[in-house]
Symmetry: C2
Subunit: 228 residues, 2 copies
């Protein structure tokens, strides 16, 4: 019987590698991308389409989550707030809520993806949560994943088999993730990480800085281009 | 210091009574309603506006959740599926997933309301989950609430105080809920429960049947009108 995974994918390296791993594990892939007003949403959608095609996905759902944009409260979704760049960025443990925090984002994203998984009878939800982002964002921690899986059992209908969130990178930092990506032959050349959504990576936002440092520390050449 | 509650409200009796209880407990009320493609969404919004005004709410957020409509899979959101009425309805324990089940609905709704709560610094989320609906819908059970509160601690930023879901009716069936509503002087005359969204209650859908039986068994006169 076909086993199905819903791959929550932003088009970045982590979620793309997680989806590649799910593919190797024999899942039929159904991609899920969410637009929640983030600056890069159009670029992300275009990227996720390419990645889904590359990995032979069976389907791709592009969800709109307008409430998060309306709510604001984040530099990623509120055009009036500045996204920190270069030396304004703190790549390690935060001392206050980062301006790029989007309230309850991963919970909202996973809840949507879980509804999709319930409807198509998916066994798994694949996510790119990882230890590097968990330094700033608790909704990337293993503990978040574990707790989410527990509530999910009660969030689906009594007669549905609850899907399980799989986060194969949850204990890894970027260099190990990138090495893993090379090992599983993930389409790193198609990935896009920048908060700004321009054609090339800006190279200086938090997300680009994590990416660059990860590739450098992994000793792997980044196949994508940077503006700075 | 002002303590704030986000009141998740459909305009039905349960969530309206829960909000009234939160008001008596001294919370400043911020109402939250979600449109997810349910047939009655316009009627619900109009109802919730009246209830929020009646209870002196500080604010009301009307969220759109278009993905649930797009996903379908429920008689409530898919116009091509029939909503069961009269003898087609099973008011007690279900033997299969009811056609009115909306995939992961309460998880998605609560995740949105939690983002709102995080942004405004609310301590509590008020919901009308109850034992009668929990017979058919596991996302109304006390166990769901408990598990949700556990994941919510990790779904908000590390420096945010996680809000707590309060479900004061979670152990009660409709007659006890209605008696409670009379006791706390909830605006039952403003509430609307029908799945169809017409001006008056249809009187024969699952939601109307629960309501009618509840009022009858509580020995309380329903101040609203029915078509059938």
């Amino acid at each position: 019987m076909t086993k199905i995974a819903v791959c929550v994918c932003s088009g970045g390296i982590d979620s793309t590698i997680a989806a590649t791993i799910a593919s190797h594990e024999g899942y039929e892939l159904h991609f899920f991308h969410a637009s929640y007003g983030q600056r890069a949403e159009d670029r992300e959608k275009e990227t996720v389409k390419k990645i889904a095609r590359y990995l032979g996905a069976k389907d791709l759902k592009l969800a709109e989550i307008p409430f998060l944009k309306e709510l604001g409260g984040s530099a990623l979704t509120d055009i009036k707030r500045e996204v920190p760049v270069a030396e304004e960025v703190n790549l390690d443990v935060e001392k206050e809520t980062p301006s790029t925090w989007v309230p309850c984002r991963n919970l909202i994203l996973l809840a949507h993806a879980s509804a999709y998984a319930e409807v198509i009878g998916a066994e798994a939800l694949s996510v790119g949560f990882n230890a590097e982002e968990a330094r700033s964002y608790p909704d990337n921690e293993l503990e978040f994943v574990k707790r989410y899986n527990v509530v999910l059992e009660k969030a689906v209908a009594s007669f549905s088999q609850p899907p399980v969130v799989k986060a194969p990178l949850v204990q890894l930092l970027k260099p190990a993730i990138i090495k893993k990506g090379v090992e599983v032959e993930a389409p790193l050349h198609l990935t896009y990480s920048c908060y700004f959504g321009e054609e090339k990576h800006c190279g200086i936002c938090e997300s680009c800085l994590h990416r660059r440092r990860g590739f450098k520390d992994a000793g792997v050449e980044d196949p994508t281009e940077y503006m700075h």
